[in-house]
């Protein structure tokens, strides 16, 4: 009675719609066998200016992980080290596919994140272009090496597909880990969607390697919402790639024994307790953060600004958000307008450097500022409030917050707008998270609690 089961044929199990697309018959080798690295070898280097501003683009409907892969394919990446963690795993296994295809020259699966982030430091010191990615607990496990990259002036790009880190263990989106990265000395960009992720990674390499920057770049996105969902991404031809890293362009020597020995790692006085030790370390920290400051001009040039403002002129209400919260806020602005509320959106692309002056200019006239976030602690509200203090009389609502993997219904945001304007008590944001009310104690409580 039983019918013979059809045997399952696996075709390119690691493939995705782009890599598994049928390939043209090959003319690569004498025996008619396709050179697996043929396409990679034929890639043409173009300038960053051409790649970002002139090269024609085609739109694809792909996941965020696939966007990361396509960005790395076009970024002339030398080396990547991978370690799986949900929801990042797909990204680095796709980079593995690129390694198989010759687009990435060196790749291995590391032992765990501390080892991976250390190896990325080694690769960057060797003078090659390096990429890796992690998420949530992986970010914290790798944090000691990650936060040392900036101090060692190591250009590299690390993608953070943010996820819950607190117990009880969960794999869901929650971007509290960005709070740790903000103080690491690296540049931190926050991608709203698939397109941002693609652009920020490619531009991140170029900005990271600028001589007066020479710092790592963290490209964050909210896990699953961006990594696993599909969205439109306009991409340059895959036959193009960015110029290779010039190891001698950095502001500190690479450790290839072709330079006089780098003093950075050598001077024992830095380890000692004396005036020179304090002074050397203090000056070094100042220089790292000065490098962060100097990256502003490149972010303005390549990324069209540290923030994006929409409908902010004449707006009574401003929604300020980054990442997936910006996507929800964009819809909230539309719904507010339907209700006759004059609302605008400020989407922050670069969290480090932070668009302080831009916010001071844009927030001067607003009556109400609402800052929705996908974390409990409200790191963005803290930065915004600090930046515009004294430059705006707006009431600031640090919320709504969702965390632990919750999604953020647009109504949560519009409710806050209405409560903020009418003075009605909010269901989700405690009084202590609202600044600019008549009660100064509430403000003090807010600053204390975040």
């Amino acid at each position: 009675m039983s019918e013979a089961l059809e045997s399952e044929v696996k075709t390119n199990p690691q493939g995705d719609p782009i890599t598994s697309a049928p390939v043209a018959p090959s003319v690569d080798s004498e025996k008619g066998r396709k050179d697996p690295h043929g396409d990679a070898k034929r890639q043409r280097e173009v300038s960053a200016e051409y790649m970002f501003f002139e090269a024609p683009r085609e739109r694809e409907f792909i996941t965020g992980s696939e966007c990361a892969k396509e960005a790395v394919r076009r970024s002339n990446v030398d080396m990547s080290v991978a370690y799986p963690i949900t929801p990042q795993s797909e990204t680095l296994q796709l980079i593995g596919v690129l390694y198989g295809e010759g687009y990435v020259k060196e790749f291995y699966r590391g032992e765990e994140e501390y080892g991976v982030m250390s190896a990325i430091a080694g690769a960057s010191r060797a003078g090659v272009r390096a990429f890796t990615a992690t998420a949530g607990p992986g970010t914290l496990r790798g944090l000691e090496p990650i936060v040392s990259w900036a101090g060692h002036r190591l250009p590299a790009v690390c993608m953070f597909t943010c996820r819950v880190v607190n117990a009880p263990l969960a794999i869901q989106p929650d971007n509290v880990e960005i709070a740790y990265l903000l103080n690491s000395g690296m540049l931190v960009f926050h991608a709203e969607n698939q397109q941002d992720l693609f652009d920020f990674i490619m531009k991140g390499f170029i900005i990271s390697e600028k001589n007066d920057v020479t710092l790592p770049v963290g490209v964050c996105c909210d896990g699953f919402f961006v990594t696993h969902a599909r969205g439109y991404c306009a991409m340059q031809d895959r036959g193009l790639k960015l110029p290779a890293r010039d190891p001698y362009r950095g502001s500190v020597p690479v450790l290839d024994a072709e330079n006089p020995p780098a003093r950075l790692s050598r001077d024992a006085p830095v380890q000692k307790s004396n005036f020179m030790a304090y002074n050397i370390h203090a000056v070094w920290q100042q220089e790292v953060w000065a490098g962060v400051e100097r990256s502003r001009k490149y972010i303005n040039h390549y990324m069209d600004g540290l923030l994006e403002a929409q409908d902010v002129e004449d707006a009574d209400v401003l929604l300020i958000a980054s990442g997936s919260a910006a996507a929800q806020s964009r819809e909230a602005v539309r719904q507010c307008k339907e209700k006759g509320i004059k609302a605008g959106l400020i989407k922050i692309r670069s969290l480090r450097p932070f668009p302080t002056n831009e916010l001071r200019e844009l927030c001067g006239k607003a009556k109400l500022i609402v800052i929705p976030e996908f974390n409990y602690v409200g790191w963005l509200a803290k930065d915004v409030a600090t930046a515009i203090y004294g430059f705006s009389n707006a009431k600031i609502v640090a919320g709504p917050h969702v965390y632990g993997g919750m999604s953020m219904p647009v109504e949560m945001i519009t409710d806050e707008v209405e409560c903020g304007l009418t003075g009605k008590k909010s269901n989700t944001v405690p009084e202590s998270h609202i600044m600019g009310t008549v009660d100064p104690a509430a403000v003090a409580q807010f600053m204390k609690s975040i």
Binding site: Y114, M117, A119, G127, P145, A257, S265, A268
Partner: protein, 296 residues
Amino acid sequence: MSLDYVKFTPGFGKFMPKEYRDMVEHGPFGKKTSVSQVGTFKEILEEHPMCAGCAMTLFIRLAMIAFPNPEDTITVGTAGCGRLAISQAAIPFVYGNYGDQNGVASGLSRGLRLRFGDRPKDVVVMAGDGGMADIGFAQTLHSWFRKEKFTTIMLDNEVYGNTGGQESGMTNKGQVLKMAPLGKKFEKMDMLGMAKVAGCAYVATVVPNNPRRVESVIKKAVLIAREVGPTYIQAYTSCNIEYAIPTDKVMEDAKDVENDRYAFSEYLTDEAKQYLGELYGYKEYLPKPAAAVTKG
């Protein structure tokens, strides 16, 4: 800094850093030096802030003399006494985070191979027993399992010396130290056995009171790591402070420990033997010529 790739325009050599010129004119860069010539040339490690009588410093000094290509060698280390001396040397040193040395060296050596191909850029990890067998254990073992081509040297003083004398995994059982108030409760870790299991192509133990032997094992380890696979040297480098060894008895102690538990040992894979024999003239590793057949 490599000699072959930087050629000074005549008259401009004097603008190179003095320490580099000294290494070329009076030191080991570009020529062969040996421990038997100590005192006649400028060494890579000349000054250090280590304790008087420190055997570890002597070992590091000898190791650096033994590097086959010092001008193309990059050292990697971690927190511990050793880095205080290594960081004073005239060759680049990566001092990263706690226990990250074999991870950093993995990325570094692969990156350098991408850029320089077969041109040797020797990566040598030198770190203490705590950094290697305790906090950096996973990265040490995984770099060996991955067959990363660089040399790992453990400066084994059987204690956390730099933090003030706490028990490490390499401390001997029963030893009373800080954090081991009742004596260490488990055996000294068998890193040599693990190195072999994990696939190191060369594994050796050595003590610093035999300079020629130190020189020999370092040279072999660095050469084999260029092409064959990971190499591991475990050196007894006593801590005369935490183990209260009188300064003038440090070499005597090294001899005693060598006799007690640190006898010289050397393990090479067949591939490593063939490589050394064929490429670097180590005749002892070449196959013996077949004995003449005699009629019975």
